[in-house]
């Protein structure tokens, strides 16, 4: 649970400090003390609902993966039957694909910022294609492992490998739904404002999942 607790300590620590700073010197009953009605008191303007929503969602997802990692390490320590699984080399290629996916979506986001629809479209296409390739690549990894006799029940290390890669892939698949929406908006040529929000969310989500993948992959490599 150490991993999860560190994560939560950081997250809640930041969050609670922010809230307490908002409230420490405020005397809410003194109505004159409050900010004038048009003044913003808490969130910077860059925090749009969509971004905050994504951030909150990512916090929940991080909690999910932190707990998976905790379960992984606890299970490893609690019993003596753990046989580490050497991650198949194909994972390196997949990692590269995921990086490409992230780059593609970043391009789309940049394009939206600069109001270049063509760049948005090409970026989205590149990102989506690389992501699909990544997921197919992960399936290949699974098949390779099966062929090599590393089945789900062979060892807890193997079972965790399948579980964690599957959880990660499911989150990418969920992201692809948002990606489809961005694609539809971009290909229809809807207002750049909507496209921008959509592309931005995708890009941020992909960067997050890439970072997450680095952590998970690193963990699989190290243990």
């Amino acid at each position: 649970m150490t991993v999860t607790l560190i994560f939560l300590a950081l997250l809640l620590g930041t969050f609670l400090t922010w809230i307490v700073r908002q409230s420490l010197n405020v005397r809410p009953w003194a109505s004159a003390d409050g900010p004038s009605v048009n003044e913003s008191d808490s969130l910077p303007p860059a925090a749009t609902p969509a971004r905050v929503g994504l951030a909150v969602f990512l916090a929940a997802v991080t909690s999910l993966f932190a707990l998976s990692i905790s379960a992984y390490t606890m299970r490893m320590e609690l019993s003596g039957d753990w046989i580490p699984l050497a991650p198949p080399p194909l994972l390196w290629l997949n990692t590269l694909l995921l990086v490409v996916g992230s780059v593609g979506l970043q391009r789309a986001w940049d394009g939206a910022r600069r109001n270049r629809l063509a760049q948005v479209r090409s970026g989205l296409k590149l990102g989506g294609a690389a992501t699909v390739a990544f997921i197919v690549g992960q399936l290949f990894v699974w098949m390779q492992l099966q062929a090599a006799g590393h089945h789900l029940v062979t060892n807890p290390a193997t079972a965790f490998f399948y579980l964690i890669t599957a959880l990660h892939a499911v989150h990418l698949l969920g992201g692809l739904i948002a990606w489809v929406r961005a694609m539809v908006l971009a290909s229809r040529g809807e207002s750049m404002r909507d496209i921008h929000v959509s592309a931005e969310l995708c890009a941020l989500y992909w960067h997050f999942l890439l970072l997450l993948w680095f952590i998970l992959f690193g963990m699989l490599l190290v243990t």
């Binding site: 809410p28 900010p35 609902p49 929940a60 379960a71």
Partner: protein
């Protein structure tokens, strides 16, 4: 963060929201079934959660019948008894309390109390409800599959939960785990909405420290839930894999009914850690909204500012944060490393300090108040009494040494029902009597409400208080029957019969409540917009019940906190949040207390 390509939304949303930005469907289905209006979604949550909660109530009566009158009813065998116990617990904790407090009250009150037109992501909000309904239906389906629902206890501890011989081994446990996973997905959608709406959609002037405590409670509970539910999700997925694919995450080398099982070296304790990492915050997911709501009920009906508002907020935050580091106090006698006991006993007792502070502040809110003993107020007082009792018995169980003889006895049953069942239910009833006039435009019947209160309050105390003493005598829980032992006296059996009768009376008294709710909907006295003379924004809406969009043409502007009751010099004993300092009617010079 990068520069925004589109116009930056300032903190305060525009005062006037064009009508077209809200989806106003015209058809019945669009308005009441697939509605995106948080208020309709709230009512959908309410109806679904209450319905499944009634199932759990019936199950509890079946449990009590067996305990009170063992060997009388042939339809209660050990399997079905355990199934009833399991489903009663799971439904009440997750599908009723969590859904009702966050799904129903959260949806109804967050936009109204924050001064927003609706949730920030209305479509996601609708999806959240339908996902929740799916989870409930999957759960209900488990009653009809071969073998019935799971009987593993609501904690679903492996290996038992997925071992042959446990009731519901065929299908029940699978449906239970799937239903939980779906519930968590649905809750995450709703939870996102609650958090973002509270952070982003507050109206002008509604600073964090002017939020009513109800919103604070719901907010902290949602944050906890978003971070804690993933633990249950991971545990459920891993258990499903153990069950269906034969992995050994939790399952050790063991026999089941005399046969070797083929599992290897899994760790049952790992599940317990994951489960309680969710399970303990879950207690506060239920408790914090109740804490918040009761604060508002107390302040409104005592006509007094909430005492120590900032302390109340910080206490909520402290309790929320600490609730993540106390989970293993559920595992003192689980066979985990016993040295953890030192750490978790300490953290657990520390959490008692902010909790006690909240209790003091509630009582101090009554002190020097001007207390109107309305039905919501009675329930709030009932809550304080019950919660004090339940909180104090928690000090027994949280303190590792004291817990050893009491763990897994009726003391535990008495404690958690007092603190987690009766106390939040008191608040929920109080809240329903309090907000019903806003939701329907009519008052609930006072006499019926008082009868309902007295029977529920005294009845539940009579049910759960004696249980602590059966527990002290060492009577274990989750027992189908007690047989003959050297330490359980016959008087326990008589007491159990008495408790059962009390439970049936209390359960029947709930019919009064439902009758009152239905009857008042058609025949209740017209309430007017603000029958309790309350200050918070939901009482200041243009229409009662509020229309879609909540506040008519203009969103309110907030000038003060939510607790301006009895402000010296003001003409009325309350000043709504949206009254500007210039508009407060003051008293003529020299006059101190006005006749109302």
């Amino acid at each position: 963060m990068a520069r925004l390509g589109h116009e930056a939304t300032s903190y305060a949303p525009p005062l006037e929201m064009p009508e077209m930005e809200l989806v106003h469907p015209k058809t019945f289905i669009g308005k009441y079934v697939f509605s995106q209006d948080a208020k309709v979604i709230a009512i959908q949550y309410f109806i679904t959660a209450t319905s499944i909660g009634l199932v759990a109530l019936v199950l509890s009566i079946l449990i009590r019948l067996q305990l009170g009158f063992p060997g009388t009813f042939s339809f209660l065998d050990p399997s079905s008894y355990l199934q009833h116990v399991t489903m009663h617990g799971m439904i009440m904790v997750v599908y009723l309390l969590t859904a009702l407090l966050l799904g129903a009250f959260g949806n109804y009150l967050i936009p109204l109390m924050c001064g927003a037109r609706d949730m920030v992501f209305p479509w996601l909000n609708m999806l959240s409800y339908w996902t929740y309904l799916t989870a409930v239906l999957i759960l209900v389906a488990s009653f009809f599959v071969p073998g019935g629902p799971t009987g593993a206890g609501w904690t679903l501890y492996p290996p038992q939960a997925i071992t042959p011989g446990t009731p519901g081994y065929d299908w029940g446990i699978i449906l239970m785990l799937v239903s939980l996973a779906v519930f968590i997905a649905g809750f995450t959608m709703g939870g996102l909405n609650y958090v973002v709406t509270i952070l982003q959609a507050r109206t002008r002037g509604m600073t964090l420290m002017r939020l009513p405590l109800t919103i604070w409670g719901i907010f902290m509970a949602t944050v906890l839930a978003l971070l804690a539910f993933p633990a249950l999700l991971v545990a459920a997925l891993m258990m499903l894999m153990d069950m269906l694919a034969g992995t050994s995450f939790f399952m050790p080398t063991m026999i089941a009914l005399g046969e070797q099982t083929g599992y290897e070296d899994g760790s049952p304790l790992l599940f317990q850690h994951l489960f309680w990492f969710f399970g303990h915050p879950e207690v506060y997911i239920v408790a914090l909204p109740a804490f918040g709501i009761v604060s508002d009920i107390l302040a409104t009906h005592a006509r007094r500012n909430i005492f120590g508002y900032r302390m109340m907020v910080w206490a909520l935050i402290a309790i929320g944060g600490l609730s993540f580091v106390v989970w293993a106090h559920h595992m003192y006698v689980s066979g985990m490393n016993p040295y953890f006991g030192f750490l978790f006993a300490t953290t657990t007792l520390i959490i008692a300090v902010p909790t006690a502070l909240k209790v003091y502040n509630w009582v101090l809110t009554l002190w020097k108040g001007n207390i109107q003993l309305t039905v919501p107020m009675l329930f709030a007082i009932g809550f304080i009494f019950t919660f004090v009792n339940g909180g104090l018995s928690g000090l027994f169980l949280g303190n590792v040494t004291v817990d050893v003889p009491l763990a897994d006895t009726y003391f535990v049953v008495g404690h958690f029902h007092m603190v987690m069942a009766v106390a939040p239910i008191m608040v929920i009833f109080g809240a329903i009597y309090h907000w019903y006039p806003k939701v329907t435009g009519r008052m609930m019947n006072d006499t019926l409400g008082k009868w309902h209160f007295w029977i529920t309050f005294i009845g539940t105390y009579g049910i759960y208080y004696p249980m602590h003493y059966i527990g002290l005598a060492g009577v274990p829980r989750r027992y189908y029957a007690y047989g003959e032992t050297g330490f359980i006296p016959d008087s326990v059996i008589s007491l159990n019969a008495a408790i059962t009768i009390a439970a049936i009376v209390v359960a029947l008294a709930q019919l009064l409540f439902f009758y009152n709710m239905f009857h008042s909907y058609f025949r209740g006295r017209e309430a007017g917009p603000n029958p309790w003379n309350a200050t918070t924004l939901e009482w200041q809406t243009e229409h009662t019940p509020p229309h879609h969009g909540n506040f008519g043409r203009e969103l309110p502007v907030v000038y003060r906190w939510a607790y301006d009751y009895g402000v010296p010099g003001a003409r009325h004993d309350f000043i709504p949040q949206n009254v500007s300092p210039d508009d407060v009617e003051t008293l003529p010079e020299g006059q101190e207390v006005p006749a109302r």
